[in-house]
Amino acid sequence: MALQTQQVHGGGTRFRHTPVGVMGNVLGWMLLCFAVLLVLTPVAFMFIASFMPARDILKLPFSWWPQTWYFENFWHAIQGNDGRFIFPRALLNSVFVAGTIAVTTVLLSTMAGYGLTKLRFRGAGIVFMFILSTLMIPFETVMIPLYVVVTNLGLQNSYAGLIVPFLLSAFGVFLMRQSLLSFPDELLDAARIDGASEPGIFFRVVLPNMWPVMAVLAILTFEAQWDNLIWPLLVVQSSELKTMPLYVVTFMEEKSTNEGAMVAVAAISSIPMLIIFFTLSQYFLRGANVFSAGKE
């Protein structure tokens, strides 16, 4: 039963009849369009304003069609206020760090989830509760002790320092464990009877079948790390290591920043994640099922 629902597409089951009649249907369309309009306006603003000179961006009244097409914003954004082109480097750093974390999180979370569900051992429940409880720890609580741990390991101001504290996430373990609950035991037992080793089973039977959920976790993790400001703020001490959010905040605070360059930086910073999202959205929308399916 559970497995069947997992295969339902993100499109979901469709109601034959909506709860209310035709009027309700029209109302529904209106509400949806209104919601989408509201939600997308700031995004549209960001992209359109990046083509405007600073003085037009906060002008009354705001004109949605740029009266002057001003491309220097992008050049200024990439160059930075000091002309050192740190921005492209920051974007690459973010891609590298977020990407690495996404990979390790998916792999290690799946391993942990697998061990907790399919390889039953005494204490598995307690271990799971332990890991789950860390979800509620706000980062600000552990910020300074964590910084001390990382500096004692000598990892400050390095890629390792940015990556290592996030190798795993409790959310990832939770997600994979929930999804693995409904993984058919028969497949595993069949592989065992065939004499495969546990690691072999994991890599050859489990992983290939969990691909959609893993993709979801990878995307969510990448997104969270792409966005991470407070940890790099503590750990990064040199310009070359800056990640994108850190660069954006610096850029915002510099006194010689104008709004045009600011929106250009904002627009460019959003593009990588938007591209990933649009190309992989099918996995994402499909895989969202695991949030609910796993609970049943």
Binding site: R55, L60, D82, T151, Q237, T250, K255, S256, T257
Partner: protein, 425 residues
């Protein structure tokens, strides 16, 4: 013979290794400032050429993040060897003995007396504890009023005679210069430099005879009448009064340089001159913009200008003796080029040498800044200055944005400052 390349290689390796061992690396963290960065990079190269055993690693951070970064680094006992911050942020490092006293010999001054004599009187006080200096000035700033002459002329005023000399005049002139669309301000006549209340709000109260901290060191916000007038003034300034500005509009200092007809006057220091030249070379002193002194109330009892504050170079007390010596040597070296700091970055290090130089005397409006500096109180520095600044901020936000009564806000303000002085949360 066959071994000669190998021997040469091992020799070279050994030499590099020995040199590397003998080298002292000094890590220097500072805040962003493109003009100063260029200058300091050059000085670093020169210094390293003259001192082959020392390597300087310079890192810049945004000024907002710098204080936090330095804090977390020191908390983990891994602070940089040299750093700088504003005086009110630096003071706790001195009190907690995390920074080392100045080494006058290594820095090239010879003795403490010579060191103090090299700077304008009183300029080293904010980093002096128990008669020992703990920092060398990187920049000392006091703020005067920068005025956009084009805006004045456009409104039919003559900037040379009609500039505000009192706070009462400031209110009227700013109102005249302010352009609005209904309630929304599109051009401000003047706006304060939020949230640096310790710089401008405290002197405003002092001009009326008020004090931030009483002489007993425990009571705060002395002289109700003075403080009430200041609070009432801010209330009048804000959206619930004459609607002349508020902390939620863009920072005046970020707008001024571009001469976009969106701000008439703002507060800033001498370094702004270099920044204007950088951002907008066509915007010239004496014809596009000018500087006027910090206003005083009509019935002021004390002539106090905007408070001065500074950045001082400080050295980590946990660095090794070699590192500390090298650090002071480098700082002393940079301090010799005070004229260049002033000319290229607009940063005044208030050393006698600079103040006597022609570069300084010929700098636009340096006479106004100096006369303001002469009547400027030092910014409040102490253990609790961040909390006190926050208390002032909360008070201004309460009268200005929440339209609360100055009398009730005064009570809260006093309680908060006294609590901060006692070290309570």
């Amino acid at each position: 013979m066959r071994n000669r390349p190998l021997t040469a290689l091992s020799f070279a390796l050994a030499m590099t290794f020995t040199i590397a061992l003998a080298q002292v690396e000094v890590v220097y963290w500072t805040h962003e400032d493109p003009n100063r960065t260029a200058l300091e990079q050059e000085l670093i190269e020169q210094f390293q050429a003259e001192n082959p055993g020392i390597v300087i690693s310079r890192v810049t951070h945004p000024s907002n993040a710098l204080a936090q970064l330095i804090l977390t680094a020191f908390a983990a006992n891994r602070g940089p060897d040299i750093f700088n911050m504003e005086t009110f942020n630096e003071y706790p490092y001195i009190v907690n003995q995390r920074v080392a006293p100045v080494d006058p010999v290594a820095a090239g001054f010879g003795s403490y007396d010579a060191f103090y004599a090299a700077y304008l009187e009183g300029m080293i006080d904010p980093v002096t504890l128990d008669r020992l200096p703990y920092g060398i000035p990187l920049e000392l700033t006091n703020w005067a009023i920068f005025l956009n002459m084009n805006v004045f002329r456009g409104a039919g005023l003559d900037p040379l005679t009609d500039y505000p000399k009192t706070w009462e005049e400031m209110l009227e002139i700013a109102d005249r210069l302010t352009v609005r669309d209904g309630e929304i301000i599109t051009r401000r006549g003047f706006d304060f430099r939020y949230p640096y209340y310790l710089n401008f709000m405290v002197p405003m109260a002092q001009q009326l005879g008020g004090q931030l901290i009483g002489d007993d060191g425990e009571s705060a916000i002395v002289n109700d009448e003075a403080w009430l007038r200041v609070l009432a003034y801010f209330r009048e300034w804000g959206p619930h009064g004459r609607n002349l500005g508020s902390p939620t509009y863009a920072n005046a200092r970020a707008l001024f340089n571009f001469d976009n007809d969106d701000i008439g006057m703002m507060e800033s220091g001498q370094y702004q001159v270099a920044r204007i030249a950088n951002d907008n070379p066509g915007f010239l002193p004496g014809e596009g913009w000018m500087v006027v002194p910090f206003p005083v109330w009509e019935d002021a009892v004390e002539d106090a200008a905007g408070a001065y504050y500074g950045h001082y170079w400080m050295v980590n007390a946990q660095s090794t003796a070699d590192e500390q010596e090298a650090a002071w040597k480098f700082i002393g070296y940079m301090a010799q080029f005070a004229e260049d700091f002033f000319e290229r970055a607009g940063l005044l290090q208030a050393s006698q040498a600079v103040l006597d130089s022609d570069t300084f005397k010929n700098h636009p409006y340096s006479d106004i800044f100096m006369s303001d500096l002469a009547r400027a109180p030092a910014i409040y520095y102490g253990d609790a200055s961040p909390q006190i600044r926050q208390a002032l901020q909360d008070a201004v936000e309460a009268v200005m944005l929440q339209n609360r009564e100055p009398a009730e806000v005064l009570v809260t303000l006093r309680a908060s400052v006294e609590r901060a002085l006692r070290g309570e949360y």
